[in-house]
């Protein structure tokens, strides 16, 4: 068990954004996290990696209780993440951005070694020819790749991907899916939030579904997409949803 999420709740004032969510992530699997907008998916990522510590519950990462620990502590233990809204370090070059990940992530490399890792990772995600550019100058698809590259340079055990496919065209999606598969091939465990159903259903070994902050289903992609509560959450009427799923 890489990650155990036990009864995690998160409250923002009167809003219960996460409601006693529990599940586990196994070694080297791809776990898809889906749910309608506002279901609490990104909040769960924030609760897991310490950006907004849970108000209740525990987060156990690699056997250690990391509940409420700051994000850098989790990063150093091997949890990295990408952001849904890209957050490049604008005035640094693409290579420097990725070097930061390699310097302060799990393996804490020195500058020279980190910069070598940065070049390898940039080649891996297809940004090698942009290494000298300022990160601010990249387009959105490239910034998404940069997010991933930075997270990979941290040499994570577990990587949290927050909508890395959103806003990409079909060809870019295919490229990114291939990259995600390769990452898993390197032994990294992946938990991913994704709205693009066919991609998440294709990639994931298991899927967890959130709605209104609570877990409503968990299982293989096939099990989850046949689950009435899931279909209802997404589309209201199971019959319409069924037609939608068969069509798409």
């Amino acid at each position: 068990m890489i990650l155990e999420i036990q009864n995690v709740s998160r409250r923002f004032g009167g809003l219960l954004a996460l409601d006693k969510v529990s599940f586990t992530v196994k070694e080297n699997e791809i776990l898809g996290l889906i749910g309608p907008n506002g279901a609490g998916k990104t909040t769960l990522f924030n609760a897991v990696n310490g950006v907004f510590p849970p108000t209740e519950g525990r987060v156990i990462f690699r056997g250690a209780d990391m509940t409420g620990k700051p994000p850098f502590a989790l990063a150093q233990m091997g949890m990295s993440r990408t952001h849904q809204i890209v957050r490049p370090l604008n005035e640094l070059t693409v290579r420097e951005n990725v070097t930061v990940g390699a310097c302060f992530g799990r393996e804490k490399h020195g500058l020279d070694a980190a910069s070598k890792i940065a070049d390898e990772v940039l080649e891996f995600v297809g940004l090698k020819d942009r290494a000298e550019m300022l990160a601010a100058k990249l387009n959105v698809a490239q910034k998404k790749r940069l997010e991933l590259a930075r997270a990979l340079a941290q040499k994570p055990i577990l990587i949290l991907l927050d909508e890395v496919l959103a806003g990409l065209n079909e060809q870019e999606v295919a490229g990114m899916v291939a990259v995600i598969r390769k990452v898993r091939g390197q032994g990294v465990t992946i938990m991913m939030i994704e709205h693009l159903m066919h991609a998440v259903m294709n990639l994931s070994d298991r899927v967890v579904v959130l709605d209104y902050g609570a877990k409503i289903a968990e299982g293989t992609p096939a099990e989850v997409s046949a689950n009435e509560r899931v279909i209802e959450a997404y589309l209201g009427d199971p019959k319409v949803a069924q037609r939608f799923l068969e069509g798409g």
Partner: protein
């Protein structure tokens, strides 16, 4: 250390050293006094740049460390007849310690709140010192002339202070360069760009910022100790002079935010400009107005400053001009 053999650093150090030695070789005491102030400003601007340019925290009241170093050094030289070099080092240590302790709460503040807090710290220290009789209160302290005898006389003492300030300036520039080129510097720049992202990438910002603040407090304190030792008197006003602090910000912006050579160029240009304005009958009362306008123009049109602008022009300059 690979960084220390970089020509980008050596050239800068040699130029500063060569210029600084002119009055000693040609025996021009008036020029020496001018250059003393210039070197002091280079130290102040470079230090401000470490916390502001690299880390993104605008330390408005950085002059407080100059004052703390000045008072600590002066007190030790005066009452314990301590050697000025040792007194200056202790002054630097005290300033760093205060920066460390103050930094823990204050560096939690972001943006304008931090800038305001640093002004508050400076004003608080000035008031504090004004009310301590052992430090001379509002009138300050006057060095007993006999103290200089230990250095062979007043002239020798002031020469020693000058060599001291050259050394501190070179040290400050070296430290600035080493930080910029180090893993620690990369962490600072990541914090400057986006502190929350830096944290997700594994950086502990609180620790990095407090260390940076302590480092950037050290050098101005050394300069303060040497300056007031040379002057022979110290008062709360000149020691904690807020507008000096603001001028240091102008120098950093003028030369180039976040670059090593920027604050040096900025200090030089600003000091020349001020010298001209003060002696010119038309502008003599308006030099602060001009520097304010200058800051406005830089912020609006050339945010990168002189060195930053040059670095944007070509990859070759980017490689060698830090």
């Amino acid at each position: 250390m690979k960084v220390l053999t970089s020509p980008s650093l050596w050239i800068v150090l040699l130029v500063v050293l060569a210029v600084a030695l002119i009055p000693m070789i040609a025996n021009l005491p008036a020029l020496r006094e001018e250059l003393f102030v210039l070197l002091m400003l280079i130290i102040l601007a470079s230090s401000v740049n470490i916390i502001m340019g690299y880390t993104g925290y605008v330390s408005f009241g950085h002059i407080v460390f100059f004052g703390i170093g000045g008072y600590t050094g002066f007190f030790l030289v005066q009452t314990l007849q301590m050697h000025v070099a040792l007194a200056a080092l202790i002054g630097g240590g005290v300033a760093s310690l205060i920066a460390f302790l103050m930094g823990m709460p204050v560096l939690r503040l972001r943006g304008a709140y931090f800038a305001l807090a640093t002004i508050g710290i400076n004003e608080a220290f000035r008031t504090l010192v004004t009310n301590i009789d052992q430090l001379g209160g509002a009138v300050g302290m006057l060095l007993q002339f006999s103290v200089y005898d230990a250095y062979g006389g007043a002239k020798e003492a002031s020469q020693l202070a000058y060599y001291g300030i050259i050394l501190v300036a070179l040290l400050t520039i070296t430290a600035s360069f080493m930080i910029k080129k180090s893993k620690f510097g990369l962490a600072l720049m990541a914090i400057r760009e986006d502190q929350d992202t830096a944290m997700v990438l594994g950086i502990d910002p609180a620790r990095a910022k407090v260390m940076t603040y302590a480092i950037s407090a050290f050098f101005p304190a050394l300069a303060g100790a040497l300056f007031f030792f040379k002057n022979g008197n110290i008062e709360p006003g000149p020691a904690f002079e807020l507008h000096r602090s603001i001028e240091a910000l102008v120098m950093v912006m003028l030369g180039g935010f976040g670059t090593v050579t920027g604050p040096i160029i900025g200090a030089f240009v600003y000091e020349r400009l001020r010298g001209f304005l003060i002696t010119d009958p038309t502008f003599s009362n308006a030099h602060l107005v001009i520097s304010g306008a200058l800051l406005l123009i830089i912020v609006l049109f050339v945010t990168a400053g002189v060195i930053g602008w040059l670095r944007q022009q070509s990859p070759v300059l980017r490689r060698y001009l830090e």
